[in-house]
Amino acid sequence: MWIALLLALKTTTLPNGLEVSILDDPAMPVVATQLWYHVGAANEDRGSRGLAHLFEHLMFGGTAAYPKGEYSRYVTLAGGDENAFTSEDETVYVSAVPPSAFPGILLREGDRMRSLLLNEENLANEKKIVTEELRLRTENDPMSRLLVEAQHALLAGHPYSFDPSGSKEDVSRATVYGCRAFYDAHYRPNHAHLVVVGNVSPEETLRQVEESFGAIVPGGVTPPEIPSLLDWTYPDKLDLKEDIPPVEIALAGMPLPPADAPDAAAVEVLRELLTGGSLDPFRELVVTERGKALEAGIEWLGLKRGGGVVFYAASLPYRRRATAFRTIDDGLASLDGLAWLTDETLDAAKRRLRTEDLGARYYAERMADRIGEARWHRGDAASALTWSDRLDAVTREEVALAWKRYISSGRRIRVYVKPERVPVLIRMFGWLYPLFS
């Protein structure tokens, strides 16, 4: 039945530049709407870190036609959900409602694209709220503190070096004038992509979209391209200390290419082979076979302009740093043999990816998310529905090449994390651990 989905996806661009994707699926009991503004934290100027996220909050401040809170109340009354998120690459406004409430969503999204009320009172309130969110996300949990510090140090100077929450100092300095300038620069139909998924009539929906958005004047500025993470210069090593359990963690990371790289499909299959199965091949070597670490594994991160893969090994805090990194290097050298990459495991990885893809197609919200991301990160909205076919076509040789290019021959960035406090027993007797493992 879902073979017909590709035919059901209608994509068009209004004369004012607004891109529109409508996926009609009569079986879906809710309609998801997502408005992707192609601006994120990475597009902020120095000195205004957190502005994209702060502005996301301000977008709920109301308009003359729909005062503050009206949009949320409308969605809640229908039993729906409404929210927004700001990442490094985009700011997305999401809602999902039963079909009867859907036309009202378009009216409200269209209205706030250019008619938002910005005033001192609302800005002052949202600055306080955003600062509390920032504290929650980046200050009050040891792992969050670690990640923020590592991101900042490893990517210094790169637009991805700040968490989208920004900095308290910059948020406190935001002005109505600056927010208006941001709004005028980026909240324009020609910088946005509207995605609708659910039991809707494409023709009628397109008519409603034109009614809600068609008269909005294009303009603004196109942000400069974010540098690829693959081409960035990184420090060789980084040492961190945090209030974590009494283990030391050695990490070796390598940058990955942008989401629209020619070999992006091969990289995704590689990720699935390394991290999507029941067995993590790196952990199997380092922990199970060699007993060289308490725990080990692979983490994968991905943004529009690149990502990273991290191999880590954790041990009790008695181990020498050089030994820890040698353990990782030895593990990677063994994985170079590609024993984990067989026709059988490749086929299985593709089957898992296909299963996940098909499983997502029941859900309007997930499909809207996939279409929005496919357009902005890969340049083609329809690829949300054809990506599985691309993945299916990836060959063993292409995966091997991606491994060699990005991991085996990739630049290795070393990070070592120590705990701030170690219990006396572990400090005194931790070195005995290998004798009993």
């Binding site: 809710v30 009050n140 040891p142 359990p245 029941s278 098909l358 499983g359």
Partner: protein, 416 residues
């Protein structure tokens, strides 16, 4: 609300496999994907689980010493998850339709595995000890632990769940035996969702599990009465290292799912903290920007759990926000809700039901939830229907009784 025909046709087809095992199918052929679930009525709340380390027994049964089971999963593209919850243990297999027979074979092999990997068990024991240190800095954990200690007596499973667990067992043979006992416990469910026909499901369910036996002792959770409000601390501070915010949890015992007061509670709770313009979010976030988040949460089921009203703010603003929270609750209790708020809550709760009906696996999950709680099929939706009928005066009478400050304890995670 009218639902699309394809979902209306996805009603449960249930049948009895044997005297101790039921099966259910949510048939939906939109995608060639199948979810298979084996659910066993023993969970972390069961005394048996604590006595025999049922959690390790169930979740490590796919770790045989040669890793052959996991290798089979990774060679076939079948995903198998093992999970234990408070009242059940569940194995969930997800696969493309053409591999269902292999998935069933894997399920059977895992359930028959007696060769537990004892090296992996040792690592698990060590890891669990080390990770316990992490709870020292976990705000959510500390508040949940403190709430459980206030509300539930020592030994009550609702409290034990938040205490330091005993060492995990590393005795593979004993764990295999415990797993077998879990597996033989009557009240088993085999569930299918997705691209499966009734005929196939019946055939597959028939031979899937070994014969049931008698239930081991200590399957049913043994709850003690909730501690009387007068015996609980009125307030308690929980110092945590390096915090820059204070987190508040104003807690009391919750209204069980099958309690006659539940419909009124649903309306009251929605108005108080159930949405972005609820009373709490309006007072604490929109009016004055004191916080990013405020709301309510109920972790009970047919047994009373913890009901919490929570928020957070910067450390030097803690007293102020606590005052606003208490005042919001005082007014809520004194004046109750309006007819407009009541109608809005009914509309919201009714409309939200569509979100749980998008996929056959969701329908199966709802069916399982109601079954294991001993609720009739459709009971959760029926409670919402009943909520729509509760008169405003009855809801407000409930609010006056339930939101009595004498029933609540104020817990604060504060900077050390």
């Amino acid at each position: 609300m009218a639902l699309p025909a394809v979902l209306l046709s996805a009603a449960a087809a249930a049948w009895s496999v044997d005297g101790a095992t039921q099966a259910v199918l949510f048939e939906d052929h939109r995608a060639p994907v199948v979810t298979i679930v084996v659910e066993l009525p023993v969970g972390t709340w069961s005394p048996f689980f604590e006595r025999r380390d049922g959690e390790t027994a169930f979740t490590f049964q796919d770790d045989d010493s040669g890793r052959s089971l996991r290798r089979r999963m990774d060679a076939t593209g079948i995903t198998i998850d093992l999970d234990v919850d408070r009242r059940f243990s569940v194995m969930r297999a997800t696969t493309l339709t053409d591999r269902v027979p292999e998935a069933l074979g894997l399920v059977q092999s895992i359930l028959a595995n007696r060769d537990y990997d004892e090296r992996e068990l040792s690592r698990h024991r060590r890891e669990r000890k080390i990770l316990w240190h992490q709870t020292d800095t976990d705000v959510g954990f500390k508040l949940s632990q403190a709430a459980a200690r206030e509300l539930f007596a020592e030994g009550d499973p609702r409290r034990t769940a938040w205490e330091k667990p005993p060492d995990a067992s590393t005795n593979g043979a004993a764990l295999a035996e415990a797993r077998d006992e879990i597996l033989r416990t009557p009240g088993r469910l085999i569930g299918f969702a997705g691209d499966v026909t009734r005929a196939d499901a019946e055939r597959w369910a028939a031979g899937l599990l070994p014969p049931a036996g008698t239930a081991p002792s200590g399957v049913a959770p043994a709850f003690a009465p909730v501690r009387p409000a007068g015996d609980r601390a009125r307030e308690r501070d929980l110092p945590i290292r390096k915090l820059t915010q204070v987190y508040l949890a104003y807690v009391r015992d919750s209204i069980p799912l099958d309690d006659p007061r539940r419909p009124a509670f649903l309306i009251a709770d929605h108005v108080l903290g159930g949405h972005f313009y609820s009373r709490l979010v309006t007072a604490l976030r929109h009016e004055g920007g004191e916080t990013y988040g405020a709301g309510t949460r109920d972790d009970g089921d047919v047994a009373s759990g913890v009901y919490r009203v929570s928020t957070f703010t910067r450390a030097d603003n803690a007293a102020h926000i606590e005052g606003k929270l208490r005042e919001t609750l005082r007014v809520f209790r004194q004046d109750g809700i309006t007819e407009e708020e009541r109608a809005g809550a009914v509309s919201a709760l009714s409309g939200a039901r569509a979100f749980a009906r998008q996929a056959p696996a969701q329908l199966l999950a709802r069916y399982r939830l109601e079954r294991r709680l001993g609720l009739p099929e459709g009971a959760i939706d029926a409670t919402i229907d009943r909520a729509a009928e509760v008169p405003l005066a009855e809801i407000n009478a409930f609010i006056r009784a339930f939101y009595d400050p004498a029933a609540f304890s104020m817990l604060r995670a504060v900077p050390r």
